[in-house]
Amino acid sequence: MQIFVTLYGDLKRYAPGDQPHFTLNLDSGAALKDIHKMLAIPEGQHVSLINGRRSSPDAPVADGDTLVLLPPISGG
């Protein structure tokens, strides 16, 4: 299955190529934590949104999902 990933802020350094927007091909049944592991992003230092919803590391991902990883941000 295909997952569309975007990394923001400092997390861009974990992108597999030059671009912070990329596609990952995964086996079905994968969870968010599998993607974190694949990209070598440590747990707990970011916010993961699957289709715009904050998701925990155990959350499953499905074909066509968009995944956004944000650094921790506050203020406003």
Partner: protein, 609 residues
């Protein structure tokens, strides 16, 4: 007294008399200071039904017991008055250097009563207060005024003043201090202008007395060391990109207000977010007194169309003047921000009112002839020109100066104004962040996020994340954040530091760290229960003022565009804000009637009867 200076300066603008009044220790402990002290004084003296721009209204500037003490972000003061924009109370907060310098003059607060026959400014040189003529300053912008006043008083003094917008009673005129910091919301600058008070200049000396300096120093070191440890690996986003970094969050959660609050996503967001500001315009960070974060942005725009130099923009400005107007030109947004600072206006209401005008034109309810120029979505030059006209009430600016509600009402369509209690919202869309809708509707000052900010738990995940789409169970946590904000605002701290670093994660954001600071500074021996009750007391004291002014459940409202029309785009697509359901829950949690009126039981418990 310690922490508190123990004195309140009262200035009768009609007679010119200045007198020092004692701060009662019991009032100080029960209301803390700042915002709490302000509502205590307003309730003592101001008729809640009075005309906000009449001489009956008071203008109060109040510091808190931690202002100027060296507690991290202890740099704030609060302006309290009845608002001409909303008819409710307002408490408008600012930092910088002015509040600390003010407190070093020996007073906790200054109360301006009545109205001067001619323009004046207050010069407070240590404890000596003097009203001086300000005819030569009238008409000058806030930067010119500040420079002239520093030249004629003391180069090391600090200035808070109004610009032409306050003089012209623009209903969302701000009081600017240290040139770039704003007590921005609800028209506090218009009240100052109505009193013919151009500026307050302060020059203090000495330190703020502390009850237990050693205990204060030890606790302060512990808090700062913990804070520094926490940012060792990853610098704080507020430091790197300022509040403008929030654009990335709200866009991705689908709560970035766009096109006059019709949707929560903006295609051009990457051109207006914090990284873009940092790369293109940031010259250096700026920090308020005693702040380890430094979220302020000293910026410069070289683009010849919008050239200028100053501070900002903040996230709220970027939403209001950017996505909300479909403007992706960050240079124009920054320039309009500079103009607001120089003329002395609130950037949120300014941007939101222009967005409302754009929709009114699009729908044919407002003509180009009335506006005096074309006004289409995304018109960056119109944003800058109309902002300038508003501050001096020229042409169409005279109508914009009344805010979006009165503008839309004049056009026969008040439902198009994105307001609660006639005040425009900050930049978080309640269809995708439900508790934010409850906070806007129940804020005592109308649309505001700073009187209890659910973005912390719905978006930022502090202390723990809550599903922003769910409305059930949000009333209790919103109340807890509102009470906490009342304590932060009254102590003289900044929400950006205090929520993350001085509240307990496991006790419903209980203010444990603030209590430790307050007790070391004041010796008042607050228990946690007493301090939390003080927060609740302040909220209820404000609600009493509103109730007497005629506000009730009908005014704890949001526009139907947010409660009846489903979000058309983004992660919140298909959702509406469930305000009515949350209000039922909220009033129960507060112990108020179904109509939003505090009960006798609650008032007795809080000693407000």
């Amino acid at each position: 007294m310690n922490g508190w200076m123990g004195k309140i300066l009262r200035v009768d603008l009609a007679s010119g008399a200045c007198s020092a009044l004692p701060m009662e220790p019991s009032v100080a402990k029960d209301y803390i200071g700042g915002r709490g002290l302000g509502i205590y004084l307003l309730n003592q003296e101001v008729d809640p039904t009075c005309d906000a721009l009449s001489s009956e209204n008071l203008l109060i500037m109040a510091t808190g017991p931690l202002t100027g003490t060296g507690a991290p972000t202890g740099a704030r003061y609060m302006v309290m008055t009845k608002s001409p924009l909303t008819g409710a109370i307002t408490c408008s907060n600012s930092g910088g250097m002015f509040p600390t310098e003010f407190k070093r003059t020996g007073y906790d607060a200054v109360v301006f009563a009545g109205r001067s026959a001619t323009p004046v400014y207050l010069y407070l040189d240590h404890e000596k207060a003097e009203l001086r003529g300000a005819d030569h300053l009238w008409g000058k912008d806030t930067h010119q005024t500040t420079e002239l006043l520093l030249a004629e008083t003391d180069a090391k003094a600090r200035v808070a003043c109004i610009g032409p917008a306050g003089e012209n009673r623009v209903l969302f005129a701000a009081i600017m201090n240290d040139k770039h910091r704003a007590a921005g919301r609800s028209g506090v600058g218009a009240v100052m202008g109505s009193k013919n008070l151009k500026a307050v200049v302060v020059k203090g000396k000495g330190r703020i007395p502390l009850a237990d300096p050693d205990r204060f120093k030890t606790f302060n070191k512990h808090i700062l060391d913990t804070f520094q440890e926490g940012i060792k690996e990853t610098p704080l986003s507020l430091t790197v990109n300022g509040t403008a970094g929030v654009v990335m969050v709200t866009q991705n959660f689908g709560v970035l207000p766009t096109k006059n609050w019709q949707q929560g996503t903006f295609d051009g967001w990457e051109k207006i977010h914090g990284e873009e500001l940092t790369q293109r315009f940031l010259k250096k960070n700026s920090a308020c007194y005693g702040c380890p974060i430094g979220c302020g942005r000293k910026t410069r725009v070289d683009d010849h169309r919008f050239a200028g130099e100053g501070e900002g923009p903040e996230y709220e400005t970027i939403y209001a003047m950017g996505s909300n107007c479909l403007i992706d030109d960050l240079a124009a947004i920054t320039k309009a921000n500079y103009i607001c600072n120089e003329l002395g206006m609130d950037t949120i209401t300014m941007g939101a009112t222009i967005a409302c005008a754009m929709e009114l034109v699009e729908r044919g309810y407002l003509t180009e002839e009335q506006v005096g120029r074309p006004l289409e979505w995304g018109d960056a030059e119109a944003l800058v020109e109309l902002t300038r006209l508003t501050g001096v009430r020229k042409g169409f600016g005279d109508l914009l100066a009344e805010g979006s509600y009165r503008l839309a009402e004049r056009c026969g369509h008040p439902e198009l104004a994105p307001v609660s209690k006639k005040q425009e919202f900050p930049g978080y869309e309640p269809r995708g962040a439900q508790a934010m809708g409850l906070a806007y509707a129940t804020s005592p000052i109308g649309g505001s996020h700073m009187r209890g900010d659910p973005a912390y738990f719905e978006l930022f995940g502090v202390p723990e994340p809550m599903d922003p789409h769910q409305w059930q169970g949000k009333a209790k946590v919103t109340k807890a954040y509102q009470d906490l904000s009342a304590i932060i605002d009254s102590a003289g701290l900044c929400i950006f530091f205090a929520v993350r670093n001085l509240a307990a994660k496991d006790l419903g954001v209980a203010p444990v760290g603030i209590m430790a600071y307050l007790n070391a500074a004041t010796g008042a021996d607050y228990t946690l229960e007493e301090l939390m009750q003080a927060g609740e007391r302040i909220i209820n004291a404000e609600r009493l003022f509103l109730t007497k002014a005629g506000f009730a459940r009908k005014d704890d409202s949001l526009p139907e565009r947010l409660t009846k029309t489903p979000a058309p785009t983004g992660p919140a697509k298909g959702l509406v804000c469930h305000l009515d359901e949350m209000l039922d829950e909220y009033y129960k949690v507060r112990g108020w009637t179904e109509n939003g009126i505090p009960t006798k039981e609650v008032l007795n418990r809080l000693r407000l009867s």
